[in-house]
Amino acid sequence: MSVPVTDLLRILPELVLAVFGTLIVLVEPFLRRTQKSLTGYIALIGALLALLSTLAPAMYPGPAFNGLVLVDGFSIFFHFLLLMITTLTIVASFRYLEREGLPQGEFYALLLFATIGMGLMASGNELVLVFLGLETVSIATYVLVGFRRTEVRSNEAAMKYFLLGSFATAFMLYGIALLFGATGTTFLPDIARQLAEGGGMRTLALMGMGLLFVGLGFKLALVPFQAWVPDVYEGAPTPVTAFLSAGPKAAVLAAFLRIFFTALEPLSGSWVWVIWATAILTMCIGNLGALMQDNIKRMLAYSSIAHAGYILIAFAAHSELGIAAVLFYLVAYALMKLGAFSIVSHVSAGEAHQSIDDYAGLHARHPLLAACLTVFLLSLIGIPLTGGFFGKLYIFTAGIDANLMGLVIVGVVNSALSAAYYLRVVKVMYMSEPQGNLAVVPVPASLVFVLTLTVLGTIGLGVFPSPILQFAQQSVLPLP
C-alpha cells in the first residue's frame, strides 16, 4: 500500500520540519565549536521553508491518512501562526545561546520537533494523533525548559513542568479512554455522530469530557490548574519562556477548540458553563497574581494566565464569531508576548536581572528598547492603536453577542485592573533613576529584527486589523 501524494502534501510543513530537525542533529557533531551557530541558520531556513510549504496544504485542503489529519482553514491558520512563532523564537535565541554558552544544535532541533507536534495538534482530527502531537510538544519543551543544566532554577522548573505535565497527560489520556469506551471510536466526527444519536454511554462520555478538560486545562494553564506556570516561566531560559507562552498555548487551544466544537458539540450544554466559570476564575487569579510580583518573568507569566481567561470568554460564546475572535487574539497575543520576552532576555543578561527594579531608567540606557517594551505592555493592557485592543474588542463583542454580559463585565474590569501592573513597569522605566551597575549592552542585530517585526505587527494589527480578521473569519471551524 502506498501513500497518496496528496496525503503527503497535506502534511508538507511537518515533513519539512522533520527533515531539517534531523539534519541539524546529524550536522551538529561535525561542526567546530565556533561554527555551532550554523545550526541556528539551518533551523531558520527550515522554519521559513515550512512556512512557505504551508501553501501546499492550503491549496489542497481535505482529510489525509484515512481521516487522521484534517486540513481545513482552521489548521492552515494555526500553521501560519505557529510557524511564525517558531521563526521568531529561533531568531530571538541566536545571541542568547551564544552568550550563555548553551549547546545550540539540540536547542534548535528540539524547537523544530516541538513545532511538528504543534502542527499535528492543529490539524489532528483524531484523539490518538492529538495526544501524540501534544506529547511531542511536551517532551521537547520539558528538555528546553531545563536547558541550562547547571542552573538549579532551570532544573527545578524542568522538574515541576515535567511532573505536572505528565500528571495532566495521564488525566487527558484517561479522558480519551472513557470517550473511546463511551463511543467505540477516537475519530472526532464519529464521536460527535455517536453522541448526537444518543448512542453510547452518556455518563461515561461526560466523565471522559471532564477528564479531558482537566488535562487540556493543565496544559493551557487555566485556574485551578495554573500553579506550575510562574515557576516554569521564571526558571526556563527566556527565549523558551517566550516560546512556551505563545506556541504550545496556541496549539493546545487549537486542539481544545476542535475537540470541544466538533466531537463534544452534542454535549455543549454540559461544558459551556464550566468554561464560563473557568474564564472568570482564570482572569481574576491571573491578574491578582500578577499584581503581587516583583520579578518581571513571573509577572508576565501571571499575565499570560489572565490572557488565557480572556480567550475563554470567546470560547464560552460558543459561536463562529467567538472562534474568529480567538484566532485574531492569538495572533496579537503571540506578537506582544514574543516581543516582551525578547526584550526581557536581553535586559536580564544571563537571567541575573529579572527584577522589575532592574528596569529602572531603561529609557536612559536603551531608549528604543524601553519604547518597544512600552508598546507591548500597552498592547497587553488593550490600549487603542495596538493589536491587543482589537483582540479584546472582538472577544468582548463575541461575548455580548452570545449574551454573556456578566462574563464581559468581569473581563473589562480585569483589563482595567491589569493596567496597574503593566503601567508600573512603564513608570519604573521612565520615571525611576537607573540603579547603577547595569552595563549598556549593545542590542544585537537578531533582536533588532525580532523587535521590528513584533512592534510593526502589534501596531499594524491595531491600525489595520481587517486583513488578519478576515483571514480569521474565513478560518473558523464550521459549527452545526
Partner: protein
C-alpha cells in the same frame, strides 16, 4: 470464565486513584515518577477492556502508542532527575523550593 467489563473498569479506576494519591503524597521524586507510570498503565487497562467490549482493535493500538510515549517520558524524566541530583544531592521534593509556588 467471562469477566464483566465493569470489573476491569473498577480495577483501572482504583489503580488510577492510587497513582494520583501516590503523586500527591509521596516525597521522593522517583516514587512520584512511579506513581505517574501507574496512572498511565491504569489507563492502558481501560483501553484494552473497552477495546474488547467494542470488538475494536484501535483501542489496543492506542495502548502501544501510550507505552511508547511513556518510555520517551521516562527517558526525559530520569534525565531531569539525574540533573537535579547532581546539582543538589537530594531527591526530596520539599527541598526543591527555590521558587515559591
Amino acid at each position: 470464565m467471562h469477566v464483566p467489563l465493569s470489573y476491569y473498569l473498577i480495577l483501572s479506576a482504583i489503580l488510577f486513584g492510587l497513582g494520583v494519591l501516590g503523586f500527591l503524597l509521596k516525597r521522593n521524586i522517583i516514587a512520584i515518577f512511579m506513581s505517574l507510570e501507574l496512572m498511565l498503565n491504569a489507563v492502558n487497562l481501560s483501553f484494552v477492556a473497552f477495546s474488547y467490549a467494542w470488538q475494536q482493535i484501535s483501542g489496543q493500538i492506542f495502548v502501544f502508542f501510550v507505552i511508547v510515549v511513556a518510555a520517551a517520558e521516562a527517558a526525559v524524566g530520569l534525565a531531569i532527575i539525574i540533573m537535579i541530583f547532581r546539582n543538589r544531592a537530594s531527591l526530596n521534593i520539599e527541598r526543591i523550593n527555590l521558587m515559591k509556588l
